[in-house]
Symmetry: C2
Subunit: 228 residues, 2 copies
Amino acid sequence: MKSTKNAIQTEPDTGTKPPAHETVYQTLRGQILFGELAPGQAVTIQGLTESLNAGMTPVREAIRRLISDGALVFQGNRRVSVPLLRSGDIDELVYARKTIECELTRRATLRVTPAQIAELERIDNALDRAISAGDVASYLAQNYAFHTALYQHADAPILTDLADRLWLRFGPSLRVVCGRLGTQSFPDRHKDILEALRKADPELAALAMERDVAQGMEQVIQGLASGN
Amino acid sequence: MKSTKNAIQTEPDTGTKPPAHETVYQTLRGQILFGELAPGQAVTIQGLTESLNAGMTPVREAIRRLISDGALVFQGNRRVSVPLLRSGDIDELVYARKTIECELTRRATLRVTPAQIAELERIDNALDRAISAGDVASYLAQNYAFHTALYQHADAPILTDLADRLWLRFGPSLRVVCGRLGTQSFPDRHKDILEALRKADPELAALAMERDVAQGMEQVIQGLASGN
DNA sequence: AACTCAAGAATATGATCAAATTATCCCGTG
DNA sequence: CACGGGATAATTTGATCATATTCTTGAGTT
């Protein structure tokens, strides 16, 4: 099985070393997804070469990919920064997430194995512990891991790629919202998804996913409204 | 170090200066969209530096962006090539195109002005002439121009970005299909879209767009089936 | 058939050039 | 005399190029 784009987390037995620009890309991508880079914050090439101990060319290529992903924006002049969401952007994201991620959920429901469902349950349990502990960073990581793992089973690389793009768009803002509101206001809708997976009911799973997406985006809307 | 006192030359004046990597990106993007680069064809950095008369670094950055766009694929080793579609990919593209582009059509219907509708009619007339003349290159360009111009009026940058990505995926294959089947098998569904725009009926426009998308993708399916 | 070596292409580094933002200073005005 | 605005200089940063290094690949040999 070849990794098409993301996911370098392979076993060290392969012996192949990852290229420098790939590691830089993954590192920056994680920092943006987990909100370590705040929206509106400017990113400089030379600053990244020092903080990541990498050369200039790998950093440049990683930034180009992230701009194409929508995770960074080109500020007219030659400056790049993390974008901040507007209310109109959120409307688009809600529609796109519902259509894309619900379809991924339907497809995954038809293909997922009991062992894979058990793995999803493990991730969801870790997510519950993160919520109870109020660990925002762990909550974001486990929530992303749950959705990503589910979509991997859909066997739909193009739709999965689109979903990854959408997560990169609202990831930084989600981090800001969690920093303001904490994790207690995030009830876990994944239990309904897991139940639908066990029943192998695609439409039920898609409906649960739609509620999960709607709820998550509603949190972002309220958080940004209270922030601005 | 030149110590030129009192030398104020603020008129080197070669006009505006677009960055080289941006120019290379747009050029390559057009070549892929219009099918000048065939699916499966290998793309080398050094070949592009000569054919485009550009440096190595701009070419590298442009290729990174196009890989992130899905317009190019990384062949595992260090080779890059134009991807070829599989039947499973087409299923995903059909779903994504219908949901994304129909929503863009709905939004555009609510915002488009009569002058903009007239511009769309002008593009569609050029498309009709291309079909009558059997001009494949012009047909592809005008068809892309029609959809792009319509989506620009939707005022939805994120959804438009997703749609652009999808077009980059099936653009090369569409060129191959047209080369095999010609343009006579492409009846023009844009007339229904334009009529719905004039009526300012979003659902009617979305329905017409869905038929246009379904018809176009069906052509790709049949063309690829006859080719493989 | 397997191994070795050579050629070519991609990756990565550093240096150099150009542009923009920032800071500073001078001049004008209230 | 103090304050503000505008222009200029300086620093910082991005863009590009030339070059060295590494990896893949293919041919040739044992």
